[in-house]
Amino acid sequence: MSNSFISMFDVIGPVMVGPSSSHTSGAATIAWMARQIFTGNPEKVTFTLYGSFAETYLGHGTDRALIGGMLGYKSDDVRIRNAYEHAEEAGMQVEFIVDKETAVSHPNTVDIVMTEADHTLLIRGESVGGGRVRIKRMNNIDVDFTGEYSTIIISHLDRMGTVAFITTFMADHDINIATLKLFREEKGKKAVTVIETDDYISEELKEMYLKHKYITSVDLIEI
């Protein structure tokens, strides 16, 4: 199946909570992915809305969609409608910052900062239309992936041989790589390797990666 295949369910779909595929469905998906990348249960989440998100978020339920996604709801889950109440029940504190000043590269952009004790993670997402999304930043590192494939996100130190280790290990486990991208904070410092694969990535594999001396965290996204 190639990237360009347009399925009948891309046309008759997605099944989603309204009212907008970009402002509601896409927002829920960004937050859902952010929650998958953040290992743990965030106690506090701050959403900073830019561009069109900042202008029309209330009438599109973008806020509820973001909270819903953060609670692990997918974009067709009606619980999104009452996401504020569900967040309170879950003990998750949420805050919205509306930033109409900062220029962003895409009109539907959100920064999500999740905190649990001393663990903090920033994810920047863009809702690019039709419910499709891109993750563009993890903490200080610019990244670019969609979550449309099985995705493994490996944070590691930028040391020679680390990527070779990661890919060899995948080949040994019969996982075919669709795309591989390495993003670096700076040469020799923190790096993130994002691999989209055709095959399911097991938790077991994730644990194996974590034993490597330069790998600091491993997250999986399976939509």
Binding site: M1, S7, M8, D10, V11, I12, P19, S21, G59, H60
Partner: protein, 299 residues
């Protein structure tokens, strides 16, 4: 056998060679390129149809205010209309009601099937379900209608646009009307050529339709335009079934629609800076601050 087609011409060629309706070619394409079984496709289609049905019923039986506060209860009002005032006949009456209902469900954060978009999600349920109910068709015919519509929607997505921000409402409600028109033709025994003609006529009739959502919300005039899109589908299909049309092949009409869409000024492409979005009476009735405070009060 390669079941893929890039445009309407190739679709019609496969239909002719294989002596198959549009829906059967599309389902073969989906099985081949998507690597999925017919059963799996039917299951997903039934789920889509179920969601469409619930989206219609919910708004008629249990109406609620929309997120932006501009919609709520319109489908129920049409449902309560005196029989003597149902001027467009029972099928169109049902279609109008269904279209308004789905738009309400969508605008109140209910679950809908984007077809091809959330803003135009009312057109297909309006047409398919009204035809199904009033003509006592089989569920299988209903499924074929949905698959047929997806073939037309796919061709437009691939060669044109289904985005209001890119090409105006003609790309959203216009595309949905073209999809629905083609579906009606197959569901009532028309030929693949008539399907594509119906879609072409529907697009031509909505050519130039602007996207001008009040306050940028998917509410006004999106809701009533969905009902209009359903009417356009019926009108176009009936003409096509009688071999009345405009003799512009669907592929050409998709290109024309796309070209017109891209020449629309930015103010008329989902930016809420023109058209109904700047109607003085609408702007006065819901000035930004008043609307925001009302929204906050309901949260």
């Amino acid at each position: 056998m390669n079941w893929d087609f890039k445009n309407a011409e190739e679709l019609l060629q496969i239909c002719s060679e294989q002596d198959m309706p549009v829906s059967e070619v599309m389902i073969n394409r989906e099985m081949q390129l998507g690597g999925v079984s017919r059963e799996a496709i039917m299951e997903r289609l039934d789920e889509s149809l179920r969601v469409m049905n619930v989206a219609v019923d919910k708004a008629i039986l249990d109406p609620v205010k929309s997120m932006g506060g501009l919609l709520g209860g319109e489908a129920a009002k049409v449902n309560a209309l005196d029989e003597a005032k149902i001027v467009s006949g029972p099928v169109m009456h049902r279609a109008i009601m269904n279209a308004l209902a789905v738009a309400e469900t969508n605008a109140s954060m209910g679950v809908i099937v984007a077809a091809p978009t959330a803003g135009s999600a009312g057109v297909l349920p309006a047409v398919l379900l009204s035809l199904y109910e009033t003509r006592d068709l089989s569920v299988d015919t209903l499924r074929k209608g949905l698959i047929n519509a997806s073939a037309i929607g796919y061709i437009i997505t691939r060669n044109g646009s289904v985005s209001g921000a890119e090409a105006g409402c003609q790309a959203e409600v216009g595309s949905a009307a073209a999809m629905a028109a083609s579906a009606i033709v197959e569901m009532t025994g028309g030929t693949p050529e008539q399907c594509c003609n119906a879609a072409s006529v529907a697009l031509s009739n909505l050519l130039g339709l602007v996207c001008d959502p009040v306050r940028g919300l998917v509410e006004v005039p999106c809701q009533t335009r969905n009902a209009m899109g359903a009417a356009c589908a019926y009108v176009s299909a009936e003409m096509a079934l009688a071999d009345v049309g405009i003799n512009v092949p669907l592929d050409e009409m998709i290109q024309i629609t796309y070209d017109v869409g891209r020449t629309l000024p930015e103010s008329l492409r989902e930016t809420a800076k023109g058209g109904c979005a700047v109607a003085p009476s609408l702007c006065n009735a819901c000035s930004r601050d008043a609307a925001l405070s009302r929204l906050k009060a309901t949260m």
